[in-house]
């Protein structure tokens, strides 16, 4: 191909496929957030804020039990029910709770208080703080419309700056992301 022909072909290519908005080496990430307990709220917010800090555009799609993580007022709880791997450091060892014990009123609340104390003591960020940081670094947050309807939640109860969308909104985002996580 002559250099002139090459130049023309480059021009045509440029016209046909406009340059991507971000530099080619920029990666992006999406996360589907499906769980809203105190423990499971951590992985998505930790990964979203860290990826954003490393320069990746990040989208979080909140669906089913993950949706309440967008509420203005968070009231996160943890339960040992059905979670045999949950052992808390106590009295020099690690103590888990039999499922039957978790059914006693107040046990989940006590577990949650213990977990929150541990979180504070170990210098781990609160979910409120991580979410604030995610908002600050422009993590895109989408609330699932179907979940809003299903559980009769209102967008008014949720933090500002979020979008409402459905499966197609997420899929479009996922096709453009290099990393897609389901948590």
């Amino acid at each position: 191909m002559s250099s002139e022909a090459e130049a023309v072909s480059t021009q045509i290519q440029d016209a046909a496929s406009p340059a991507p908005a971000a530099a080619p080496e920029t990666k992006s990430m999406s996360i589907i957030v499906t769980k809203g307990s105190l423990d499971w709220a951590y992985p998505p917010f930790i990964l979203a804020t860290t990826a954003a800090a490393m320069g990746l555009p990040v989208t979080m799609f909140f669906t089913f039990y993950g949706l309440p993580l967008l509420f203005k007022k968070l009231d996160l709880q943890v339960t040992a029910a059905g979670n045999t791997a949950m052992k808390m450091p106590m009295m020099g060892g690690h103590i888990g709770l039999p499922n039957l014990v978790t059914a006693i009123p107040g046990v989940d609340a006590a577990c949650s208080v213990m977990m929150k104390n541990l979180i504070k003591k170990k210098g781990v960020a609160s979910i409120d703080d991580l979410r604030d940081m995610a908002v600050e670094v422009d993590v895109r947050m989408i609330a699932c419309q179907m979940t809003l309807d299903l559980f009769e939640y209102s967008k008014d109860d949720m933090i500002d700056g979020i979008e409402i969308g459905g499966a197609a909104t997420y899929i479009e985002c996922a096709t453009q992301s290099d990393i897609n996580l389901f948590i």
Partner: protein
Amino acid sequence: MADHTLDAKGLNCPLPILKARKALKEVPADGILEILATDPGSVADFEAFCRQTGNELMEHSVDDSVYRFLIKHTGS
């Protein structure tokens, strides 16, 4: 030597990285950010952070359980 020092002692993952990201914004291009941390995981994490963002991890050392990182603001 450093243009800015970030005290991230006592903070756990991912806070040292998130605070470093914020602090780097205050450091001029080619300026140096010093970070003090106690999270042992921060060694691998700051290496990865610098590789990904194009900032230069000039050195890291540990003294009495305190990790010290010097990052040159060469990237984003």
